[in-house]
């Protein structure tokens, strides 16, 4: 999951940042909104070279940011969006994304069969999965003493770890940690569940070093933190710098998040947008993601081509689709979103 810290949002606020790849004389043009650095910098150039379609990149820092823009402008001005799974469901319910014509995306065959059966969009009728992964515990095996295995190791840390743990503060994962620890669904909006999670998370707050959604892995590397709440791909950034860093999915389980690509309903170049999705699904383009940003992709052809040495160094890259699908999938909360975000505000605001 790519969420960028509030700094980037602050820096970007008010000014959209465009990296334009101009191709003189190209007849068609599509606008793609993605997280910064989530695809190779030359991807659009290569796409233009291959298809003759001009492509422009707009950057969003968070799902909420692009969601706000698309809801406000009915998606006009954008052709392809990269958003996380719950947001696909929301956009679909709002009628803002187009139904995909699979005949125009032959490379869909490169996906694992499991990646065609995801609950937020069965059969990938409105979205194509781009990357996926889990959320768990990332820790310094040389500093934690006992190997962590439960969400409670994070929420009620042993005395030696107090003040040396960090948590994600992005709403779904903050709540997810407590929901999983208490045996609830990560998609719950039940009032009693929210209240119980709130109580646990407020009590966990006093043992935190900090909430950290962006630099937690460097806190492990420096030794400031010993155990952090992390997305698997980001834990790999720590492992790359210190081999004592390990990733574990707690015994209570994890969520399965999927970052996807959708075509806006408002797109005036749907054919070109489909060509772009197809281009991304090429094995070589899919393989860039695990090799460079250490995220797993649902692209079987790409994962099969992955260098085994990488999986050895970053074991969570080797997680199979079956293992991933065992985790509960993040879904849109619908009308329950209001009570959910109010609870999150109350947790973060309690001093």
């Amino acid at each position: 999951m790519r969420t960028f810290n509030k700094l980037s949002v602050a820096l970007l606020a008010g000014a959209a940042v465009f990296a334009v790849t101009a191709q003189a004389g190209a007849a068609e043009k599509i606008v793609i909104s993605n997280w910064d650095g989530y695809m190779p910098s030359d991807m659009l150039e290569r796409f233009t070279a291959e298809t003759g379609i001009e492509a422009e990149l707009a950057v969003h820092a968070t799902n909420e940011e692009i969601m706000g823009k698309v809801v406000a402008g009915k998606g006009k001005g954008y052709d392809v969006l990269f958003v996380s799974s719950p947001f696909v469901e929301a956009l679909k319910n709002l009628g803002l994304v187009a139904e995909l014509d699979h005949a125009m995306i032959p490379n869909m065959k490169n996906l694992y069969p499991e990646a065609m059966k995801l609950e937020y969009d069965p059969g990938n009728t409105h979205s194509v999965p781009y990357a996926w992964g889990t959320t768990g515990l990332c820790y310094r095996s040389d500093l934690v003493g006992e190997t962590p295995g439960s969400w409670m190791d994070l929420l009620q840390p042993a005395d030696a770890l107090k003040g040396k743990v960090t948590m994600l503060s992005t709403d779904r994962w903050l709540m997810g940690a407590a929901f999983l620890a208490q045996g609830k669904s990560v998609n719950s909006t039940d009032a009693a569940d929210l209240e119980a999670a709130k109580e646990l998370l407020i009590s966990a707050k006093k043992d935190l070093l900090a909430y950290d959604d962006t630099t937690f892995y460097s806190k492990l590397v420096s030794g400031e933190a010993s155990l952090v709440h992390a997305w698997d791909g980001w834990c790999n950034y720590g492992i790359a710098e210190n081999a004592d860093i390990k990733y574990v999915i707690p015994e209570e389980g994890s969520d399965l998040w999927v970052d996807t690509m959708v075509v806006t309903a408002a797109s005036e170049n749907k054919e070109a947008a489909h060509k772009f999705l197809n281009f991304i699904l090429q094995a070589d383009n899919g393989a860039w993601v695990p090799a460079n940003i250490l995220y797993k992709v649902p692209n079987k052809a790409a994962m099969d081509a992955l260098d085994p040495a990488l999986v050895e160094q970053f074991p969570n890259l080797g997680m199979t689709p079956e293992e991933l699908l065992k985790q509960e999938q993040l879904r849109d909360l619908g009308a329950g979103q209001k009570a959910f975000s109010k609870t999150v505000t109350e947790i973060l605001a309690s001093n």
């Binding site: 509030k6 968070t62 406000a72 420096s222 619908g334």
Partner: protein, 287 residues
Amino acid sequence: MPRSLLRDWLLLGPGLTWLALFLVVPCGMLLVFAFFERGVYGGIDYIFTLENFSRAIDPLYLSIFLTSAKVAGLAAVIALLIGYPAAYAIARAPARRQTAYLVLVMLPFWSNYLIRTYAWIVLLNREGLVNKGLAGLGLVSEPLPLLYNEFAIVTGLVYNYLPFVVLAIYSSISRLNPEVLEASEDLGASAPRTFWRVTLPLTLPGVAAGAVFVFVLSIGNFITPDLLGGGRLQMVGNVIYDQFLTARDWPFGATLSFILIGIMMILLFSQAMLVRKAQGEGGIAHA
């Protein structure tokens, strides 16, 4: 004179238009948003409600306002205690050096706010320069908790806004009529007495301006509490930020913003009154 009145309006025109379009209109919209319900996916559902205001006075959010005011007040007081002597020293330095000193005061603004804030993380963290230094000197056995707490937030705010205080007080002190000080001396007052009875009262407008600057900029700040406070201690700016960017509850964010703007306006108004009062008192300070 109608003609000079016309001229005044023409000169004020661009500034007033700018303020009206980019300050008054957005603030007006903010107030309007505060009276409606949130949409599920962000935006506004235009159903009238007062719920946002009743929620804002919940003890949870009141305590956030109080915490924010405490942190901002502390930052303002510390910035004054550091900034006043510095401004005094600069104003009393030889005239040819004053510009150089003032440039040095402004120098940090040449780098980005975020970079300066991140630099404090490098200094203050458990494995940071300060703790390593203290441990190296044998002064502490366990690293001190310098980061991710109120201390770190106040430090960051004081550091970032200190130049405003120095500049505001410097301008007050440098405008002080030296003859007033000479008169006090001639009449037998000691240097400390002259300071307490003459210099300080006459430079109070600068003190007030500096303090209000720091307070107003601090109370709405969200980057410093987020980075140096580790998000554990939330200030009202953080709650507002979250309402707009993650909780997608614009109306509640608007309500909190509105209350915050109200607090700031009261403060700025009080400061303006103080300046007016000081200027009204016989005009001892040169304009």
